[in-house]
């Protein structure tokens, strides 16, 4: 019986054949902590008797959820982490670089075949690099900081094969919302989702990141795209890696196989209050919106901003909508700035903020009041996620967000 990508990664890191279902204590190649989950992880590290982290070069630290500090308590948490980084010799990206997951990818801190953990559920995004990457809690992270290893139950995999070309103004976000709808909010619990097929082979890294990012919204432990020439081209100049073969074996065993053809896929919108409640945009077109958020680790990259700008064209955003646009990282911000996108957004009436998580987590700014409606390119529409529990959050692609922001109501981007 052949091996899945996930089984190949664990077998390689354990130097013996490892199959799904086994529990292994695996070595960790990278461990990411940020301002929300980091303080607890560090406290747990000390409570476990930790004195020196397993390898300071493998610990990734940055602040992105509440930056610049929006309360004295947040400032204290960040100061606590700065002190820890300095004592341990950990490089701290602090508030300078942007959203953790984007920064890990663009600094080349996740590479094919590696096992990476992060104290954040969307860590599964690094599967776009061909790594096995998964989100963990702060106590597990304390354990990782001390030992550089963690227990894993090697997950079974769901294989998702995608064919066809996206039609105009339809893209990876629409695809992953559609997949989440089918698999369901817990349909991949304890499992990994392995993406493949011609659509993924021709998809850029930004789209692969969007899809892997949202694997957690189906309960998955990881999302992964087998590394190929697109992956290695992305890593060039970011990280020295020698290309290897991590393709799944033809006779690999999956718990489920799903086939998609995106040729006729319509733009998708996930309606309140669960991510798996995706419907074609025409079903919700015309719903009035108070706020549009274009950003987050899911859809805050240059390509996402360019997609929004293309739809915006020479229009202005509606005066009835608050449009908040946040590039995912400093690099993405600079790319958008140099391409003239930032000026166009500001001219059209948007607020463009410095790279951070922004309204996505509902912990910092851009919160919603009771009865308000938000349309967001982020990853979660749970009740209360972006503020009041009496507010509603809809999720969509950057194209749909931009089209809707022009008209002040949910709008099919193909009709703009």
């Amino acid at each position: 019986m052949g091996a899945t990508v996930v089984e190949k990664i664990f077998s390689s890191r354990c130097s013996r054949p490892v199959r799904a279902g086994e529990v292994v204590m695996a070595p960790i190649d990278g461990a990411m902590i940020h301002d929300i989950t980091g303080p607890l992880a560090i406290r747990n590290f000390f409570q476990m008797g930790g004195t020196k982290v397993f390898n300071p070069r493998k610990v990734i630290m940055l602040f992105d959820h509440q930056v610049p500090a929006d309360s004295i308590t947040a400032a204290e948490n960040q100061a606590f982490m700065r002190t820890f980084a300095s004592e341990q010799g950990i490089h701290n990206y602090d508030i300078r670089e942007g959203i953790c997951h984007q920064v890990v990818m663009e600094k080349g801190l996740a590479a094919p075949g590696e096992i990476i953990v992060g104290a954040d559920s969307h860590t599964c995004m690094y599967g776009a690099s061909g790594a096995f990457a998964t989100g963990i809690g702060s106590t597990d992270m304390g354990f990782v900081l001390k030992f550089g290893a963690l227990y894993f139950r090697v997950p079974e995999s769901i294989r998702v094969d995608v064919t066809g070309r996206f039609s105009r103004r339809v893209g990876p976000k629409d695809l992953i919302l559609s997949i989440a709808h089918d698999i369901g909010a817990d349909g991949a619990t304890y499992q990994a989702i392995e993406f493949g097929g011609e659509t993924f082979e021709s998809m850029g890294m930004e789209g692969r990141m969007t899809c892997c990012n949202m694997a957690i919204e189906m309960g998955a432990k990881a999302g992964i795209v087998p590394p190929d020439r697109v992956t290695y081209a992305y890593l060039e100049g970011r990280r020295a890696v020698s290309p290897g073969d991590l393709s799944p074996d033809p006779d690999a065993r999956y718990v489920d196989r799903r086939m998609y053809d995106v040729t006729d896929l319509a733009p998708q919108v996930a309606v309140p209050h669960n991510v798996d409640l995706a419907v074609p945009v025409e079903d919700v077109a015309g719903i009035r919106i108070d706020q549009v958020f274009i950003g987050s680790c899911t859809n805050g990259r240059f390509e996402d901003l360019a997609e929004a700008a293309e739809v915006l064209s020479d229009n202005r955003f509606s005066d009835t909508v608050r449009v908040i646009i946040i590039p995912a990282s400093r690099d993405e911000y600079l790319k958008a700035l140099r391409a003239g996108l930032i000026e166009r957004f500001v001219t059209a009436g948007a607020l463009v903020e410095a790279p951070c998580c922004g309204p996505c987590m509902g912990g910092a700014f851009g919160l919603l009041g009771p009865g308000e409606v938000s349309l967001s390119t982020s990853n979660r529409n749970f009740r209360g996620r972006q503020g009041s529990t009496e507010a509603k959050v809809y999720l969509c692609s950057p194209a749909t967000a931009a089209a809707s922001a022009i008209y002040g109501e949910i709008t099919d981007p193909r009709e703009v």
């Binding site: 890191r13 354990c14 130097s15 013996r16 490892v18 529990v23 292994v24 204590m25 695996a26 070595p27 929300i36 989950t37 303080p39 607890l40 747990n44 409570q47 476990m48 008797g49 397993f54 959820h65 509440q66 309360s71 947040a74 948490n77 104290a119 954040d120 559920s121 860590t123 989100g135 963990i136 809690g137 702060s138 106590t139 597990d140 304390g142 354990f143 001390k146 030992f147 550089g148 290893a149 227990y151 909010a185 817990d186 619990t189 304890y190 957690i216 309960g219 432990k221 669960n274 987590m361 509902g362 912990g363 979660r380 749970f382 009740r383 209360g384 996620r385 009041s388 529990t389 009496e390």
Partner: protein
């Protein structure tokens, strides 16, 4: 032990909203548990009460503040038809026992409940419902009182490569 009954897909944003994650003290977090979605919980929950839920309890964010808020509220046991993966591990790590019970939907809000872990059932309103055994490698963590207690006694561990870490 009173039952606090919840439905499917209770997410960690509902258990503890994002704006409170700057706090790390379980008792402070407990004051805001289920704020806005079940606001009477924080004021009325008593030490030893049990949460009973449907499928996918604890989905979403990896925030360990969620199970911590529940420990601060006195919750030691959660019974659900299924758990989200990260929450399940976090719960065990902070000393909450997550029990899987296929018939959890039949248990009523406000009921008195008795949990018999060794015999593998919970009992409420005169009826017994089987619970699944806790996986072996989780048992050793739970018997140490959580992952901190387990790890404190370890100087080094053996990884799957056979090397010491």
């Amino acid at each position: 032990m009173r039952v606090w009954k919840f439905s499917d897909n209770v997410d960690t944003d509902a258990i503890i909203p994002g704006r409170y994650l700057i706090h790390n003290d379980p008792c402070v977090l407990a004051r805001h548990a289920f704020e806005g979605t079940r606001s009477e919980f924080a004021g009325q929950v008593r030490e030893g009460d049990v949460i009973v839920a449907g499928r996918n309890f604890g989905c979403g964010s990896s925030r360990e503040h969620a199970p911590l808020a529940l420990t601060g509220a006195g919750i030691r046991i959660i019974i659900a038809r299924s758990f989200a993966r990260i929450f399940y591990r976090n719960a065990v790590n902070v000393g909450i026992l997550p029990l899987v019970c296929e018939q959890a939907d039949e248990i009523l809000d406000g009921a008195e409940i008795a949990v018999n872990i060794n015999a593998g059932f919970v009992e409420t309103d005169g009826k017994r419902y089987p619970i699944e055994p806790v996986p072996g490698f989780m048992q050793s963590i739970i018997s140490a009182g959580g992952l901190v207690g387990y790890a404190r006694n370890l100087e080094e561990i053996e990884t799957c490569t056979g090397s010491q870490a």
